[in-house]
């Protein structure tokens, strides 16, 4: 059995009283882009992306952390969501549907893709499941890359550009908003829109975790035979985990396409799947707060390196010894090794990994 208690005690700052913690987190989430804006617009952009990754991490955590199904091709659902938006809201096909049609459709297609992946893999576990899901992720990417002939559907490696931005009630989020003489940056608008999605996702997943479904997943994760013995429909529950997890990926993908205005197969490589999985493992698999922290940290890391690594090396050695991209992988790997040694359950480990008990004893 894995031990959830880790070698290191939590730093005191994490052990805050809940009543202080919650308003603080909310305040931080609301104020973060304003602080970032003071440091430069590119940092707000980083935060926007961080929120998209948070959505992805929450979705993947549903599959890997809750139901215990190791999925290495999760980014495929992100791709399905992104391409759905690109097809239905861009000059590529000349279709321009509003977000409230495109986003649910993207989520639905992603869920279908999730079921398509789940169905043939129902009897696989662990390493075998990981291999099949990895292959699935690559299949989707290769399709996107090659479906420009005989009929041009995806526009191949060039990708699709000039994608419609997110427009809510006539408000185009890609343009700066002029409010009583104040200029509100488009990046800020996107941030709050994404934040709303993330908050909705968190509430949904919390409810789900303490529901019958959440408990059934925990049972399957811990002992599939026992889960069957107590009458859980394990087929149904696994498919549900894949479908719901994929839904989050699809929504995040759609938002990504709208935000970026451009999608190409390059954005959906195997590396992306692994990065999202790393976020979960680093943050604390099965624990929502941990997963969110992991996602934000790993999105910010390469940007920080880009900003500080090169100038620092220049100052120290007079030349750039390590490219930021190389350094990023190096640090990521190092971080993983250190984590496995000192905090195997993640930065913020799931307390008991049975959420319903957390709630009752809270």
């Amino acid at each position: 059995m894995t031990t959830t208690s880790s070698a290191l005690p939590l730093p005191a700052s994490f052990a805050f009283d809940r009543r202080v913690q919650r308003p603080l987190v909310i305040l931080l989430a609301l104020a973060a882009p304003l602080i970032a804006l003071a440091m430069g617009k590119s940092w707000v952009r980083v935060l926007d992306f961080a929120l998209l990754y948070v959505l992805l991490a929450i979705g993947l955590n549903l599959v890997v952390g809750f139901a215990g199904l190791l999925d290495l091709g999760y980014i495929a659902f992100y791709a399905v969501g992104a391409y759905t938006w690109a097809f239905l809201a861009s000059p590529h096909f000349g279709i321009h549907l509003p977000f409230w049609i495109v986003l649910p459709l993207g989520a639905a297609f992603a869920a279908l893709a999730g079921i398509a992946l789940g169905f043939p893999t129902l009897r696989l576990r662990g390493d075998y499941l990981a291999i099949v899901t990895l292959g699935f992720g690559e299949i989707i990417r290769i399709f996107m890359n090659n479906l420009n002939q005989p009929i041009n559907i995806t526009n191949g490696p060039q990708g699709i550009d000039s994608i419609d931005p997110l427009t809510i009630a006539g408000l185009d989020l890609s343009r700066d908003l002029d409010l009583f003489g104040f200029q509100i940056s488009s990046l800020l608008l996107y941030y709050y829109a994404f934040l709303a999605c993330v908050v909705f996702a968190i509430i949904l997943v919390r409810r789900l975790q303490i529901s019958r479904i959440g408990r059934a997943w925990a049972a399957i994760r811990d002992d599939e035979l026992a889960a069957k013995a107590i009458g859980i429909d394990t087929r149904m529950m696994k498919l549900l985990a894949f479908a719901l997890g994929a839904t989050f990926g699809g929504v995040s993908g759609g938002l990504f396409a709208a935000f970026q205005g451009f999608v190409s197969p390059e954005s959906f490589s195997l590396m992306e799947s692994i990065v999202v999985l790393t976020m979960i493992v680093l943050g604390g698999m099965g624990n929502l707060a941990g997963v969110i922290v992991g996602a934000i940290m790993l999105t910010a890391l390469p940007e920080l390196l880009r900003h500080f690594a090169v100038p620092m090396q220049m100052a120290l050695f007079g030349k750039t010894l390590l490219d930021p991209e190389v350094l990023r992988m190096l640090l990521l790997s190092l971080a993983m090794i250190v984590m496995m040694l000192v905090r195997p359950a993640g930065l913020l480990p799931a307390r008991t990994r049975y959420a319903h008990r957390d709630r009752r004893n809270a």
Binding site: A226, K228, I230, G231, I232, T234, R235, T352, Y354, R357
Partner: protein
């Protein structure tokens, strides 16, 4: 014509075959189990006992034959629907949730039910049957002794209110005294009217307590009879009870 309806078999298996890939693990066996009856399935390692039990519970698919539960064919039903009908499995190695408390483990047994009052009543019944479990209610199940874990596993299965209990090696790895306690519990369960199909390696004990028994060998039932008759059978004695035929002949 049958005079007593309760005497009709609750579980009837005809020509059951199970294959893993190309390998036939169970090669066509017949079994019957009546309400209130304790029947055991004994045999050496790899004889197909556990496979048979898992197949009856719907955890492993069968490749031939019929499984009749209360006269209905259930061979195609998935495991959770068989449990709803009243066929509960206590898997080999107990299969309890080690990180949940005892109370929570018992509650998972009632996963298929929604009648809160009925569950509470059955919980009391389980406590009466397994007083040890009641003492340990708030303990994390993984910290219990092997015997206590087995009792939790049985209690959990009972909370689904089954008609038939499939028990896979409840004596595994337990001290003789504890095994005796477990068998007392099994006996009380049959007195409540449940049918119990028991898979055991401890042939001696199983035959002593069972009304009837089947001896499995290489995926087939090679012998069947009342527990007493099999206990006296020289073939059984030599193969499963560790007695030498030559020794018997000399005596």
């Amino acid at each position: 014509m049958r005079t007593e309806n309760s005497n009709a078999p609750i579980l009837e298996v005809r020509g059951l075959k199970v294959a893993y890939g190309g390998i036939q693990a169970v090669k066509g066996i017949d079994l019957t189990l009546r309400k209130g009856e304790l029947v055991s399935l004994i045999g050496a390692n790899g004889a197909g006992k556990t496979t048979t039990l898992n197949t009856l519970a719907g955890v492993v698919p069968h490749s031939g034959g019929e499984i009749l539960y209360a006269g209905q064919e259930i061979g195609k039903l998935p495991s959770h629907l068989r449990l709803r009908k009243g066929l509960a499995l206590v898997p080999e190695g107990r299969g309890i949730f080690t990180r949940l408390t005892v109370a929570e483990n018992l509650q998972t047994g009632a996963y298929t039910r929604r009648d809160t009052d009925g569950i509470a009543a059955d919980m009391e019944k389980v406590f009466a049957l397994l007083p040890r479990v009641k003492e340990r209610l708030n303990q994390v199940a993984g910290t219990l002794s092997g015997g206590e874990q087995q009792m939790v596993a049985i209690g959990r299965a009972l909370l689904s209110r089954p008609q038939v209990l499939l028990l896979d090696e409840p004596s595994m790895g337990l001290a003789p005294l504890v095994v005796e306690k477990i068998f007392e519990v099994i006996h009380s369960i049959t007195r409540e009217g449940m049918g119990v199909l028991l898979v055991e390696q401890n042939a001696n004990l199983a035959l002593e307590v069972s009304e009837r028994a089947y001896v499995m060998e290489g995926g087939r039932v090679t012998l069947e009879g009342t527990g007493k008759a099999l206990l006296d059978d020289p073939k059984v004695r030599s193969a499963y009870l560790g007695e030498d035929i030559a020794e018997l002949a000399a005596a």
